[in-house]
Amino acid sequence: MDTRAPSVVAVVVTTDPDAHLEATLSSLVAQDYDELSILVMGTRPELTLNARVAAVAPGAFVAVCDTAGGFGAAVNQALAMVEGSSFLLLCHDDVVLEPDAVHLLVEEAFRSNAGIVTPKVVSIDDASVLLHVGQGVDRYGTIIERVQPGEVDQGQHDAVRDVFVAPGGVTLVRDDLLRSLGGYDPRYLAMGDDLELCWRARLAGARIVCAPQAVVAHAERLAAGAISLTVPEGEHAAPTLSRLRRRNELRTIIICWGLFQRTITLAMLAVLNLLEIIISVTGGDAERAVDIRESWRVWFRERKEDRAARNRVKALRTVSDRSIRSLQTRGATRARIFVATLAHHGFDAARGAWSPLAEEPSTEAAPELTASFGGAFSEDEGFDELDDLGRRGRRAHGRRRLASPRAVLVLTVALAIVFLIGSRNLMGARLPMIGQLVPLGSWSSVWHRVFASWQPAGLGNGAPGHPGYLTLGLVGTVTLGQMGFAVRLILLTSLPLGALGTARLIAPVASARARLLAAAAFFGLALGVNSIAGGDLGAVAALGAMPFVIRRVLRLLAIPPFDVPFDGPVSIAARGWRRTVAGQIVALGLLLGFVGALSPALLVATALVALGGAVGAWLARAGNRGAGLARVGAALGLAVVLLAPLTIQAVAAGAQGLAIFGVPQGPWSTAGPWGLLRFAVGPNGDGILTWLLPLAAVVPLLIARKERLALAASVAGAGAAALALAVVVAHGGLGPFAPDLLVLLAPVAVGVAALVGLGLAAFEIDLPGVDFGWRQVVGLLGVAAALVGLIPFVVDAGNGRWHMPTSGYGDALSFLNAPAKTGHRVLWLGDPRGIPGGSWGIHPGLAWATSTDGLPTAANLFAPAAATGGSAITVPITTALEGNTVHLGQLLAPTGISQIVVVTSTAPTLPGISTAESVAPPAGLLPALRHQLDLQEIPGSGSAVIFDVAGSMPVVATRRAPLSSSLTPSFELATQGWRSLVGSNPLAGQVRAGDRTAFAGRAPASDFSLQGSTGTSSSAFGWAQTWPVRNGQVSLRLSALPVDALVAVFTMIAWLALVLCLIGRHRWLDWWWRRPKHVPHLDPVELEEQLP
């Protein structure tokens, strides 16, 4: 009877061997297993290999692979050389086996009837540190270690157990199993070949166990980067390990899963990968995105090979996917790790920008302007809590309470929850028609407004489309055309973004705790929720963007702590160009352009921030004010160019162009200076507690030092400048120049919030070295005031919609959409805050707008800079206000106005159901309208007073009598006898029998022509047109050149070009476009097999 032990052939695959090779061979030679042979497979030509092997293991065989490939290819080649062995011991060339390792592995293979046995792997540098005791895997092919990084071996894993993966290094494989599996897949260079082999072994019914009694030390040279990978066929450069891992994971699950599991897994993986790409790109980690992209690209490229591999797997499958699934870890390991790391160490650690095990970052982060969520809140100040790795020692408790990342995260989440609770009724419910919340219609209609050559607002306008539509269209594109969601996205994410930006504004000089307080203060100030309640999309967006604007302005002004030198000359769009002066200017200009499109007053606010910030810096003797102001001016100039459609309108309108910034509100219904300071500009923020946050903002000016004081002075200066202009505008002191008050207050809000945070930062950082005195008391009072000042925000959250009215004029006045009103206009009069959509001013507190065929639509969202032909409306209104007419309806008749709606509040007030902010029109308006003989007041319309206009002309009409071009609406005969064109389309129809004159009340008159007219057109009422017609079909055509569309295209191209310049080749899109660098490829030189 043959009692020999089963033969084992140790296949040592070596690549660029270093001294570890000798150690490996020596440990193999020293094994107490007699039936062990050694075969050394060189993957690359190595002239001294034979001599080195012979010096240590004279009995070993040496061979060199004749094909390029990795570990698996070499093993496959060795498999062809070896015959008659029972087991193969597959070894790397940087391992050291304990003398009994092979013996124990073989024993365990028999004891457990295992096909594959893996040893306990420890660090070659420190044998007490565990590296592997087998590995697990999830359904996506993500490897899961059974030990924590750096875990000390204390015998805790010394039980034999089944594992899914036998990690590479040293693996004992039954020879017949390996042969039945067909060896390794040669396409796997590294990083995953072990998973693929083990998975197939599992599918074949083999058992894989870890035998921890067998101990192997592993240097893991490949993971350490000591070995360069072979360049795969068809590629120009060797992939990185992470890329290789991604590629192999995807390849493995495609090969090893059956159809059902493969379909599900790939679908879920695609979603996870997409999210990961977004997070990576957002965090500036383009490499990761490239890896993911490459994995899918390789899958597509090698789909035929994969199909063949699947067929091979199908042939050997004896175990169902369900059984395999039961052996795997549930969930998505990578996502779970991301969330856990995010929770413990912040975003930068989660996305892999730094390792939580590495040196902890300093308390004061470098003032590098990187965009990351983690940069706002995450900071490794953990002292009072251990992380999951148990690697944190406890530090002294005391003043750093609530400063750990976990505590900050918890508080941040609590803040977010309060905001979400406060906004809960705005998320799903229909938004009322107030402010700018007019129905936007479809995504395509919004884009149509961008390129349209004619805008129906007012009496019609040939101005280019308002760039606000462009911004909305872009946001709507992001939301996949869901414009309602786009509006909510702007409405409800701007505040959190602004809070984030405020935290980042003070990040260079403040702790995470102080940043959190600043963010909370930003939420707590009533401006944000009042902007939401008023449905002012522009103001909300401007407020959200303002912290970022301020930071960039301070950067351009070189005000501490943003006074680090700009990067040197970098070619445009190259890596680092964004950090140059030009890049910073473009970044600010682009931000102003994108957000300013919704609220042009942002440009005014930015100018104030620059001026006020410069004054503050001058007081603090800091910053580069002259050059900085010029840079900010350049950014503003760029924004003006990026808003070309609006700029052209404003310039063409002359003094009236100032209306693009806003319409004067009624001073009588606007808060006074102290109300503005408390942001009591809406339904929220009224109460004595709202004084506390502005009071707390004074603290850093009293106790802060160094960069904190310089920053405090600058933001205070910016806020004061903005507040001053806001007060003047609120009093109507600048006439028609009345930038949106809420936007003007945005720098004030950001300044107050930042100062509150700086107050705490000063208390933490600046006061410890100062003797106890009034400063400490002031600091404590400031913090207490800030915390108590948040109470109104929490209380207002209970409303669930920040006191936004539950219904708007769209509900109360729905009858205006009656078919009978088709072909007519509705004139809206009152305070601009009460008129849905855009409007033009007549007097402070009295604005006007029109809507066509009923209620306002997307076309009325933005008012062009000047209302072409608007005097046809404003002059009669003024005449009526002065008591100089009793026939306002007749004077308005040619404009097609069939109803006048006078709004007296931002929304209808329904007792017990809905309340709205009162915005009373001028006191003389309603009496003047009631004095008109041809206006009939419709009773019972709530907060809107409605008048029917007798004798209103249809916008497009015909009649028998001709109309002399010299006639004015004062002549009754001029406005009588008009009938609407027969037809459903107001722009085309059938002329009634006997009618000889067609009228079109659509400005600008010169842009329209009437197809079917029998002669040339004549001017009507000074702004409209008439044509001679006879019975027949006619249609009104717009004959303007598509200049507006060209301007819109230019604007879009300019935006896109600058975006691409800013993101350059190395961010954002680079993950898709980047190609691996070309490196010289060395063809493997086949060496003759040598035997010792």
Binding site: A716, T879, L935
Partner: protein, 478 residues
């Protein structure tokens, strides 16, 4: 300079930073305070008889309280006085309380007066109203009622209101006060009335509530049938929907005499009477109604040309009427011309001048509203020419404490000329200047334009009224 030194310098600037911010905030506060409050001014109140400026696009007057049809007791003439230098077109629409309607358009030559008689246009109905749409401005519209004992003039209303007040009437036996409510607008109106009779308090008869006045329509209410035996009658008209114009026509028994007056749209705490004549044989009294819930002390100060006389002071309970006879009395000699002021201590009263015939052979009744504060603050007036009667004089009453320079020009055709010797006068503080017909010659029969450098109240009187001398307040010109 190193960063550290630079930042250290920033700390040295702390006082400047704090001070700068304090100064900025103080400047903001002071600036806001200096600009003034932001409370909205109340709606500008315009006199109810305002004549639109010549540049107005359109203007409109509402006349009412006259009768049409067979047996008319208050036959009316509507006069349109064109004070401008251009021909103005006017459209007059008549609506009777029976629903009859008629309209006509006439052109008024520059500086002239055109008249129409509604009774010639509408014959069905009892009482009627007229709206005069003037296609321009500068035209004053008045109406006159002819009675067997004389005439009664009143300016037509250029505005509508949700409230109107009357005093000086009577629903005593034989007297028939008629309220005419006119709705010149396109919006239906609903109104109700409350009556105050002497010291008896207020009455709100059901028959006077919820009165619907259709667009461009008029209704009339005979008060005597609702609140008989009211010797001193005040009337409150309140529109709960829309706005109206209210006229009161006092019809006295045989020989039938009628007096018409436009109501006052609001209560005031101060009233002016620019001109009154202590007509022999007539009793002249100021009737003051207190339509509020407060007891008010009311004093009536009479200013003769020669000086002030001792005032009358009465306490008027809520919702009562008091009559203060000014002539004949020991303080006001018969035949004298005088002015008066009425001041109330509370939220306001309404005051009318009532002139009644004391002779047994006549029952004439003349009523003139006093001038409210809004009209009394005006500086530009139209004194329409009294067609068919003789202007006895014009009074200029300056209640203010500073003198007022007054220019009086007569509208003659397309131009104006100085009004005789009275072309330019100065009215002393708290005094009244009366211009006799002699002083106004040769412009006594012309429409006058009065321009003053300060607040002034202007009225004219004319012979031929019932009873005796009638008074017609000047109409403010925009």
């Amino acid at each position: 300079m190193s960063d550290h030194r630079r930042l250290a310098r920033a700390e040295l600037q702390r006082p400047a930073i704090v001070g700068g911010l304090a100064v900025a905030l103080a400047a903001i506060g002071i600036g806001a305070w200096a600009v003034g409050g932001t409370a909205q001014a109340t709606a500008p109140v315009q006199p109810s008889t305002l004549v639109a400026s010549a540049t107005a696009e359109t203007s409109q007057f509402t006349c009412g309280g006259f009768s049409v049809g067979a047996g008319s007791v208050a036959h009316a003439t509507i006069s349109m006085v064109n004070t401008t230098g251009a021909t103005v077109r006017a459209t007059v629409a008549i609506a009777s309380d029976a629903g009859a309607r008629a309209a006509t358009t006439i052109e008024v030559a520059p500086g002239s007066t055109a008249s129409i008689q509604p009774g010639d246009m509408v014959s069905s109905g009892h009482f009627a109203a007229a709206t005069v749409l003037v296609h321009g401005g500068g035209v004053a519209v008045t109406e006159r009622i002819d009675g067997s004992n004389g005439v009664s003039d009143t300016p037509c209303s250029s505005t509508t209101s949700s409230s109107w007040y009357f005093a000086g009437n009577s629903s005593a036996k034989g007297q028939d006060p008629v309220v005419t409510l006119v709705n010149p607008s396109s919006t239906p109106a609903v109104a109700g009335m409350t009556f105050i009779t002497g010291a008896n308090g207020a009455a709100t008869p059901q028959g006077a509530q919820g009165l619907v006045i259709g667009p461009q329509s008029a209704i009339s209410v005979h008060v005597a049938s609702l609140v008989p035996h009211g010797g001193e009658l005040a009337t409150l008209v309140q529109a709960t929907q829309g706005s109206v114009v209210a006229f009161m026509t006092q019809i006295s028994p045989g020989p039938v005499a009628s007096a018409v007056t436009l109501g006052e749209p609001s209560v005031e705490s101060s009233w002016l009477l620019p001109r009154a004549v202590a007509t022999p044989g007539a009793s002249v009294a100021v009737q003051v109604a207190n339509p509020t819930s407060s007891v008010q002390q009311v004093s009536v100060h009479v200013r003769l040309v020669s000086g002030w006389v001792a005032p009358w002071t009465v306490s008027i309970d809520p919702f009562t009427v008091a009559s203060i006879p000014t002539a004949p009395s020991s303080r006001v000699p018969a035949g004298s011309v005088y002015a008066a002021t009425v001041h109330a201590s509370g939220p306001g009263v309404v005051a009318f001048l009532a002139t009644t015939d004391t002779t047994a052979s006549s029952s004439g009744w003349g009523i003139t509203p006093l001038v409210d504060a809004t009209a009394a603050g005006w500086g530009h007036w139209v004194v329409p020419a009294p067609a068919g009667v003789v202007r006895s004089g014009v009074s200029l009453f300056n209640e203010a404490s500073s003198p007022v320079s007054v220019t009086i020009r007569a509208v003659v055709g397309a131009s104006t000329t100085a009004a005789g010797q009275a072309g330019s006068v100065t009215v002393a503080p708290r005094s009244v200047t009366t211009l006799s017909s002699t002083q106004l010659k040769p412009s006594n029969g012309s429409t006058l334009e009065v321009t003053s450098s300060g607040p002034l109240a202007v009225a004219q009187s004319f012979f031929g009224a019932d009873p005796g001398v009638g008074t017609l307040n000047a109409m403010p010109l925009g």
